[in-house]
Symmetry: C2
Subunit: 326 residues, 2 copies
């Protein structure tokens, strides 16, 4: 299976690393908007090609993994490139998924290609677990906790404050809330009860730290509804202690079984990730395998994780899977 990567940021590099763990795949090329000469990749057998020349590769790539951002890249790129390639993306603007699906589906149906959208962990593996758990336990409540992990959006919001040089924001689930949910009591939880936020900020020399802290903790949508802690640190501390992109979280469905709903069942799915982008990339690569196989079987159109038979994700045969994993 020959893979192309469009966009070589954290996610693109993660996809490159994931391909190396899968013997049935190889990286053919990385496509970039930058000057290809300036982009050094880790795969000596693959090329770096300017995005303007991507269509030269339309018969040389089985699946194109699109690693752009959800705000402006993916809404244009995924519908565009599914005209020529089987594609896969990690579009994560939940509210716009139906619109993105329609745009990709229209073109994929016409081109005869497969486009799998919104692949990763949320949306992605968390969504799958919500679906399975809801189908099994129709009477119950869903809970999603994120973290402990770095939220890029919240870190960016802090960086936009006057006097801030750099910032890292950790989303942290509240242990007591998770324990209450895991007990099966189906508690009603407010935003503040579910998560807290911890911010590490590098400020300019002489900046008004009190004002910066107040601007952070009162920021609507991002921080005002949470218990937020702000720590001012040096740039050295930032580099040394906060350069990673860890994340994770927990999806829980708590429901009832029995004729009179007398028994409780709790289903929990939890991720603990040193590297958010590398894990997302690993999920993308498993679904790239499925995209290729579906297209080989003559299928086309837009799909999500909900539509994909799990066996298609594995390099093992159906017989092996039944024998060793069932």
């Amino acid at each position: 299976m020959k893979i192309g990567i469009l966009g070589y940021g954290n996610l693109g590099r993660g996809v490159e690393a994931a391909i190396k763990q899968n013997d049935d795949m190889s990286l053919t090329a990385v496509f970039t908007r930058r000057n290809p000469e300036s982009v050094k990749i880790a795969t000596s057998t693959a090329k770096v090609i300017h995005i303007d020349n991507i269509l030269d590769y339309k018969d040389e790539i089985d699946v194109l993994v699109i690693c752009g951002g959800s705000a402006t890249d993916l809404p244009l790129q995924t519908p565009e490139y599914v005209n020529y390639f089987n594609v896969i993306d990690s579009f994560d603007t939940h509210a716009k998924i139906p619109e993105h699906f329609e745009n990709v589906n229209k073109n994929a149906t016409r081109s005869g290609k497969i486009g799998i959208i919104s692949v990763g962990w949320d949306p992605g593996m968390f969504s799958l677990n919500r679906l399975y758990a809801n189908a099994i336990l129709p009477c119950g409540s869903d809970y999603t906790f994120w973290g402990k992990g770095v939220s890029q959006g919240h870190s960016d919001a802090i960086r936009r404050i006057d006097g801030v040089i750099d910032a890292r924001q950790y989303t942290i689930p509240v242990d007591a809330a998770i324990e209450a949910v895991k007990s099966g009591s189906e508690p009603k939880l407010t935003t503040r009860e579910k998560h807290k936020r911890e911010c590490f900020v590098v400020a300019k020399d002489g900046a008004d730290l009190e004002r910066i802290e107040k601007e952070i903790v009162t920021m609507p949508n991002y921080f005002a509804d949470y218990d937020t802690t702000v720590h001012f640190i040096t740039m050295d501390e930032m580099k040394q202690n906060h350069s990673g992109l860890p994340h994770g979280g927990t999806v829980i469905r708590s429901g009832k079984t029995g004729l009179n709903c007398e028994n409780t069942a709790v289903i929990e799915y939890k991720l603990k990730l040193d590297s958010n982008p590398e894990f997302t990339a690993s999920v993308l690569i498993a679904y790239a395998r499925a995209a290729y196989r579906l297209n080989q079987k003559g299928e086309k159109g837009c799909k999500t994780v909900f539509d994909i038979p799990p066996a298609l994700l594995s390099p093992k045969s159906n017989e092996e899977l039944r024998r060793h994993l069932l």
Copy 2:
């Protein structure tokens, strides 16, 4: 969707309860080897029919849920009834799944029906989570912990000891082992390090308790490889404190991401169930929906949870699922 239940033990009653939680389904009939007059069911609109007359219902039932035992019932019943019905079972003898699959597949292919086998939580949801996690993290280690929960097989083994009237055995995962695995260290664990066993035994008046305890803790395969605790209790205590069938467990895959495997990712799936048979039944019913839909689309043959697109389990439309659960 019209459902039939074959076999009305703990699992069959669980299926009946699960059907009541799903508006798109109704119970048509329970089929039994017993005298139908003697079987009281909880669904006033459904019939109780002797198994000898089951074929009278072959055009009135969309999916037959076969609730027999894996040792002797299912190897015969599932291949037999897939000649006439879409069927689903919870066959859980892991080593014999390939053979059972072939037997069901041969007849289902000929009859044009769907047979989904080995549905439940292990095999079933645990298997699915092993598959997903292995596909995402090819470099890593798998761990399955069972419990705390009642093991029927181990309870039965104790009951066969001379002088024992009743027994209940709890399989208990060792907390330290789970914590070690969740840390991402990929420990090698012995059988004894992973689980311990706790037994509650009602003995005959005057029985030699020391001999019974020794027979239990030294029993090969069942107990000899574990740290086993034995408590002698009265029949009243047994009825009051050990009448439920709780179970659960945890599937964990711990793996590496990154170009040089420098980052750890831990995927955990955990179940905590007050009623093992009711939860298994709830999974069966979700897959019964999928069996019906697949057959409506013209598909046939034997399937497992690995083959079923997740969306087919939910009563919601694909549009609703994308909008609300993705």
